[in-house]
């Protein structure tokens, strides 16, 4: 026969001070755990959403990042005729990009941080289709005009539509604002590749990368095979989505390692807190337990009852922990992307599975913290417990 649950709920309420301690210990741990995972998750999501399945990124052979890559104009001309490249009417959908970084003052601190400036072909919006101009217009080819990503607009002072900014020895007008759906492009500033070359006094015949839009995601293999077997080309081809996923690994590993360690150590502390609470609960209720045993409740029922109480406390803690970090969802922060040496903005991303993980984590702490005290409760000799003062 089971002991009624209402007994546990009432006793939790009766000893509310020590219950609160255990609840807060678990809530703090779960909060940190979920926040760390949300950070890693958000960073990864930002980079992964930058790439799409049906785009292929072409870099110089051996280059691991755009910054280190060189694709000459001759190669671009060959690339656009390879099989698998989508066309709009007669023109191939390929953008050859020039990437530089320039410092702009951060709104928050006023200090300069590096922003990635990407010179693109004028048909880029047909290739990177997740990008929409939401204010103003696209830059006109041949003019020193800029369109800025929505995070760049939010992070840096002066990058608002209509403003003029100076960098790289040129004077530029911001003419549009684009939304890249929270991807890495949102932290970038775009302009005409040829104009960027001119302003930076770079040769017009060298690009950092080329991105082609494929006729379908399945056409990737065909395109890759054709490109890698072409003796005139020395380039590597990656699916755009894989390139960006790989960029995120170093940062997410760091956050996951450190966050995991912090959460693990905090969990030990929280379990100690729960153990303490449950042991004193058992110690204070010696006579009650003895009475229940004398009434005929079995040892199993007592263990189950106390375990339930621990789980109840843990569950409240878990839920409070999750709720308290919920408003972090969507908060943007930024860090340096070591692959591009430029600032990248990303948001905490708290998803339902993450919250479920948080509550499960709390319940595990509850079981570990509640089992031993529950067993002790059940093993107390009945006569001795009843005689206790």
């Amino acid at each position: 026969m089971a002991i009624p649950i209402i007994y546990n709920i009432r006793s939790v309420r009766a000893r509310w001070t020590s219950t609160i301690v255990a609840v807060l210990g678990i809530a703090g741990t779960v909060g940190v755990f979920v926040a760390m995972l949300a950070l890693a998750h958000g960073f990864k999501a930002t980079l992964v959403s930058s790439g799409s399945q049906d785009n292929a990124l072409v870099l110089r052979g051996g280059a691991t990042a755009e910054m280190m890559s060189f694709v000459p104009l001759d190669s671009v001309k060959i690339l656009q005729d390879e099989p698998g490249v989508a066309h709009d009417g007669s023109s191939p959908l390929i953008t050859s990009d020039v990437v530089v970084v320039a410092p702009f003052p951060l709104r928050a601190t006023g200090t300069d941080a590096n922003t990635q400036i990407r010179g693109v072909s004028s048909n880029v919006l047909q290739i990177r289709r997740n990008i929409k101009i939401v204010q103003g217009r696209m830059f006109k080819p041949g003019l020193t005009e800029l369109v800025v990503g929505k995070n760049a607009n939010r992070t840096y002072a002066g990058l608002t539509v209509g403003n003029y900014v100076n960098f790289g020895g040129g004077r530029w007008q911001v003419v549009g604002l684009f939304d890249a759906g929270g991807s890495a492009f949102d932290s970038e500033v775009w302009c005409d590749a040829r104009v960027l070359d001119d302003v930076y006094k770079r040769p017009n015949t060298v690009f950092q990368s080329a991105t082609v839009h494929l006729t379908s995601p399945q056409a990737f293999q065909q395109f890759k095979d054709a490109v890698t077997s072409d003796p005139k080309l020395n380039v590597d081809v990656t699916r755009e989505i894989d390139y960006y996923a790989k960029q995120s690994t170093m940062m997410t590993t760091l956050i996951t390692y450190l966050g995991g360690l912090v959460a693990f150590v905090m969990a030990i502390g929280a379990i100690f807190g729960a153990l303490n609470t449950m042991y004193s609960a058992v110690a204070e209720r010696g006579r009650e337990i003895g009475t229940m045993r004398a009434l005929g409740f079995g040892a199993g029922a007592v263990v189950f009852s106390f375990l339930l109480e621990a789980l109840f406390i843990a569950c409240i803690g878990g839920v409070i922990g999750c709720i308290s970090v919920l408003n972090l969802n969507g908060v943007t922060t930024s860090t340096m992307n070591m692959q591009t040496f430029s600032n990248i903005a990303f948001a905490f991303k708290i998803t339902p599975p993450l919250l479920v993980e948080g509550v499960i984590f709390a319940l595990v702490m509850g079981v570990v913290g509640g089992l031993l005290p529950a067993i002790r409760a059940a093993r107390q000799p009945v006569a001795l417990a009843l005689r206790e003062l």
Partner: protein, 383 residues
């Protein structure tokens, strides 16, 4: 300590509770040490930066080059003692995760600009004569088990087609400043210049100069930036500490993150001790009333409770910090390449111990005052 044995008897009255409370302290202090170590790893560059060094980079960004021809013009500025220049090589040893910084260095001036990075003279002489030579920091040498005489292949990246460059380890350098960067890999700038494609020749990544007098920093920095203003390669000159601070800030607000976690932990810990002390005082209320009835003063009773809390804090603190001392080197090895070197300094340890004692004290004070104030008659009448 005539009450010593009484306090200890009380401490050990519930052994399990003692273990758990000391354990909570240990865990929190261990976490404190980890967080403090990571924070200091990010800010160390600023702390140990040379006060008399200036870093000159391209105004556009660190990765844009500067012409080598600037060198002689910088040297002519009064107050400049010596100038060195470096290039970032950014090569890959075996695989990408084996990251460590590789610099093509100006062998003539490197040691004058960075006197705290010491290479034994005989190593240096071999290195100077060896075109394919390299000098590596002790930390990186340990990490990959390199010894003098080893031949190391490194794949270049970012300078034209990727090629494999082979280097002989001729020397190992150490830092005389605690926490100095011992992870760099140096090779001769001349070899770099010779090996890279035409477009990269004649350029350096950045200059570092040493001043005769650190007070000249602002004037010299301004002179340099003015000198190259409106050229195609404008410069940005900063003190080494300002440069490092900008670098650390670029990673985001780590300080805020660590402070937030740290305060959550300490707040929780405070609740745990306060609660434990409250329970143990509640259990012993009758005994304390007896003590008071036979003539112990209120203050002595408060002293008993506080002493107990402080002893728990002290032991928990020592235990947690001792564990951190053992665990930090292991953690550092696991995260090599991702984080700067992790160092557990005596300051962190003493700050941690102080925090443990303060939290113990704060946790004991409410129950202690409660015990001090209780009325003997009421307490004795309770069952």
């Amino acid at each position: 300590m005539k009450f010593g044995s009484l306090i200890f008897a009380n401490l050990f009255r519930k052994k399990m509770r003692l273990v758990l409370t000391v354990g909570s302290f240990a865990v929190a202090l261990c976490l404190f040490a980890f967080l403090a170590v990571v924070k200091s790893a990010f800010s160390r560059g600023v702390e140990i930066a040379g006060a008399d060094r200036l870093v000159i980079i391209n105004r556009i960004s660190l990765i844009n080059p500067l012409p080598l021809s600037y060198r002689d013009r910088i040297l002519q500025i009064p107050g400049v003692k010596v100038v060195t220049h470096d290039n970032w090589f950014g090569g890959v040893y075996q695989e990408e995760k084996n990251f460590f910084p590789q610099f093509a260095i100006d062998v003539e001036n490197q040691r004058q600009v960075y006197p705290e990075l010491v290479v034994p003279d005989d190593h240096w002489q071999v290195f100077l004569k060896d075109r394919e030579g390299a000098v590596v920091g002790a930390r990186t040498a340990d990490r990959f088990g390199w010894k003098i005489g080893d031949r190391i292949p490194i794949k270049s990246a970012g300078y034209g087609p990727s090629t494999t460059w082979e280097f002989n380890i001729d020397g190992i350098y150490h830092s005389t400043k605690a926490g100095g960067d011992e992870s760099q890999f140096w090779f001769q700038w001349d070899r770099f210049e010779e090996g890279v494609p035409q477009t990269f020749k004649g350029n350096v990544g950045w200059y570092v100069l040493r001043l005769d007098n650190p007070d000249d920093a602002v004037r010299v920095a301004k002179t340099i930036d003015d000198m190259f203003a409106n050229s195609s390669y404008e410069t940005k000159t900063e003190t080494e500490s300002a440069f490092e601070a900008g670098w650390a800030k670029a990673f985001g607000n780590i300080e805020f993150l660590i402070l937030t976690i740290g305060s959550v932990v300490f707040f929780t810990l405070l609740l745990v001790t306060g609660n434990t002390m409250a329970i143990s005082v509640r259990e012993r209320i009758g005994e304390m009333a007896v003590l008071k009835a036979i003539g112990y003063s209120d203050r002595t009773i408060l002293f008993f409770v506080l002493a107990e809390a402080l002893i728990i804090g002290l032991f928990g603190g020592i235990l947690g910090l001792a564990f951190a001392v053992l665990a930090v080197p292991v953690l550092g090895r696991a995260l090599a390449g991702l984080l700067p070197q992790l160092i557990l300094s005596p300051q962190i340890l003493s700050l941690g111990l102080l925090a443990a004692l303060i939290v113990g004290m704060a946790g004991g004070i409410l129950p202690g005052v409660g015990a001090m104030r209780m009325r003997v008659v009421t307490a004795l009448r309770r069952v």
